[in-house]
């Protein structure tokens, strides 16, 4: 069946218009003129479509998304892997003092991954939406991962809470449309890790996130501003793909006595006792000074120091 005939059949089904069927093309000028009119009407129709879309575009991000692994997703990082993060001196000192067994303290066993980290973790993502029943506009998205908490993102124009309000693992999030991109502002986050090896961010951070959807691919662009531990904004991204078969399982957590230790002990490494940073540098054959170079490690010029 000729291609145009197939298309005509589809358009007939929608009751819109018809292309001239090849076998019926008339030679008369009147017939040709009418066919051209039909084509013009069709293209005008195509042009009109964007005009009838609401002025503030609303792309639907809701669905089940699975993270695409890439070379930049390092999973479980080595202690001392500080590359690519604009850490200041205080941040390095903090990371150097970190001991993984701090996670065994009762207060931290059920700690979820925070918003500044979890989007790059290996966890599946569910985005759901709230819709105003009258206007049918999207008023909020909710992002939720395995081993994490619900992150509401409000699009209804509400302000951020007072500086005296509590902070949460998901932070307080508001968003606005920039074309088809969703721009999210996050405040009121608890202190948490940027990388799961002791690289912390403070509770004073702000995050700007962009959601960009292209078909079944979601790009998550994250810009972290931390006046306490970062010398410049940290920009990272993550790709997700739509996964219609995905289910995020429940993740219950009970606090237990994981380590028999005296009350009040907080595991950490005293200054000068951390050997892991050097071990990591040796492992990847990079000078330790490069490991400690902070923001420089985000840029290609760092290669000069590798020689």
């Amino acid at each position: 069946m000729p291609e145009l005939d197939v298309l005509n059949q589809k358009f007939r089904n929608f009751g819109i218009l018809e292309f001239p069927i090849q076998s019926e093309i008339a030679n008369s000028k009147v017939s040709e003129f009418l066919n051209r009119v039909k084509l013009i009407v069709f293209f005008l129709f195509i042009l009109i479509i964007p005009a009838v879309v609401p002025a503030f575009a609303q792309i639907d991000f809701s669905g089940e998304w699975t993270p695409n692994g890439n070379e930049d997703s390092i999973g479980n990082p080595y202690v001392g892997d500080w590359l690519g993060i604009p850490m200041n001196e205080a941040s390095r000192a903090r990371a150097e003092a970190w001991a993984a067994s701090v996670q065994t303290l009762p207060e931290w066993q059920c700690r979820p991954h925070g918003f500044a980290y979890i989007y790059r973790g290996p966890s599946q993502l569910r985005i759901s939406k709230e819709v105003d029943p009258v206007t049918r506009q999207i008023t909020a998205f909710h992002a939720e991962w395995l081993r994490s908490v619900d992150v509401p993102i409000y699009l209804d124009g509400r302000p951020h809470p007072s500086e005296n309000a509590p902070h949460t693992w998901g932070g307080f999030n508001t968003a606005e449309w920039v074309g088809d991109t969703l721009k999210i502002r996050t405040t009121h986050l608890k202190e948490e890790y940027l990388r799961r090896n002791g690289v912390q961010h403070s509770d004073l951070i702000e995050i700007t996130t962009y959601w960009i959807r292209r078909g079944n691919i979601l790009t998550w662009l994250n810009i972290v501003y931390d006046p306490v531990y970062l010398t410049e904004p940290l920009v990272r991204s993550q790709e997700y793909r739509l996964n219609l078969n995905q289910q995020i399982p429940p993740y219950p957590c009970d606090v237990v006595e994981e380590v028999d230790r005296p009350k009040g002990v907080v595991p950490h490494q005293l200054p000068g006792t951390n050997t892991f940073v050097k071990e990591f540098a040796d492992k990847i054959h990079v000078p330790e000074a490069v490991i400690r170079a902070g923001a420089e490690t985000m840029y290609p010029e760092i290669r000069k120091k590798l020689k």
């Binding site: 200041n88 205080a90 207060e107 809470p161 007072s162 005296n164 509590p166 949460t168 009040g264 200054p271």
Partner: protein, 360 residues
């Protein structure tokens, strides 16, 4: 329960209205109750049930506001006491104005019409003040706020009911009274009821819940109290916990680093998170934002780690000057450190050092 919930939302709505009418900057900062002097603002954060946190100049204040009247944990500074009182009264008026009126069946009682047209009854007075320490930014308003209130008859006023009009009870650990007396604080600002054991309970529910006062020995000072609102699950921590600086350890007044750490661990022992180490028991710090147990745990980790470092340096024979030069707090300084003002990083390190030397 429903009644309380509705009341809570009514207060939020009323506070929001006051916010909307304020300047743009105030809107960003949240619910503001602006008083006569525009330079000082108090922010009231509803926490749970009848309990509120009031933040402004000076230390944070916990309020229980309800049918029994007002219970305050700390009274802020002397300079702000008038405005503080006005803020409390405004909150009470909003609660009364917006409170849900329970309807009765006419056949069982009387017509509801008179209640409908009646203005709200006068607010109940401030009944209790509890001082978490003797600091002037926590007890400075004692006299003014106490005089504006009236104690519930009993205790020190038994046998002479006229004394009940002499003001709200001021409760504190006895070391607060001793030190305030030594400092010749005004008589009317002194605690009227003290305790010397490890804890004290209000002998009856107040605004629907039990209130437990826990002494934390030798922490910020030697007279610190934690106040636990058991029904609302809120702890007023005083200056044992604050989010705006390193803990202030007043060594001269009996403070000690280990006491601060013990106090933080005690708060954690009392706390239960709602979900995933978030929410649940809420903690009002002496200064700074409203917190939960995770925030306390981070703070506890920090002061414990710094204590361990300085302890290790002392073991190695380092002097105080050498310890300061080694910067044992450098990873936390951008968040909590200060080089000027009443409590600098140097002063904190020195207080930790003195605490540990005393221990030896």
């Amino acid at each position: 329960m429903t009644k309380r919930l509705k009341r809570c939302w009514a207060v939020r709505a009323a506070l929001l209205l006051s916010l909307v009418s304020g300047p743009a900057g105030a809107q960003q900062r949240g619910q503001q109750v602006q008083q006569n002097a525009p330079s000082v603002q108090f922010e009231i954060l509803p926490i749970r049930n009848n309990v509120y946190m009031l933040a402004g100049d000076g230390g944070n204040i916990a309020l229980s506001v309800g049918p029994d009247g007002v219970l305050m944990v700390d009274t802020g500074t002397l300079a702000n006491s008038e405005r503080l009182l006005a803020a409390i009264q405004q909150l009470q008026r909003q609660l009364a104005t917006n409170g849900l009126q329970a309807w009765n069946f006419a056949a069982e009682t009387r017509s509801n019409l008179s209640r409908m047209i009646s203005p709200p009854a006068p607010s109940k007075p401030i009944r209790y003040i509890i001082n978490t320490s003797l600091d002037p930014d926590h007890s400075g308003g004692n006299e003014k706020l106490s005089q504006a209130g009236a104690t519930i008859t009993g205790g020190n006023v038994a046998g002479n009911i006229a004394d009940a009009a002499q003001g709200a009870s001021i409760i504190a650990h006895e070391n607060v009274l001793l030190r305030m007396t030594t400092a010749q604080a005004p008589f009317r600002s002194l605690p009227t009821d003290t305790y010397h054991m490890e804890s004290m309970k209000l002998s009856h529910f107040f605004n629907g819940e039990g209130i437990l006062i826990l002494h934390q020995p030798s922490a910020h000072t030697d007279g610190d109290s934690l106040v636990f609102f058991r029904g609302s699950d809120v702890i007023a921590a005083g200056d044992i916990f604050r989010t705006d600086s390193y803990p202030v350890i007043d060594v001269e007044r009996g403070g000690n680093m280990q006491g601060v750490i013990d106090g933080l661990n005690r708060i954690l022992d009392l706390s239960i998170a709602e979900f995933r180490t978030e929410g649940g028991t809420m903690v009002i710090p002496g200064h700074g934002r409203l917190c939960d147990s995770a925030d306390v745990a981070y703070y506890r980790d920090m002061v414990t780690i710094i204590r361990d470092r300085i302890q290790d340096m002392i073991k190695k024979g380092m002097t105080l000057q050498q310890i300061k030069a080694a910067r044992p707090t450098k990873d936390y300084d951008p968040r909590y450190g200060k080089t000027t003002g009443p409590w600098t990083t140097d002063m904190f390190v020195e207080a930790v050092y003195q605490s540990l030397i005393q221990k030896k």
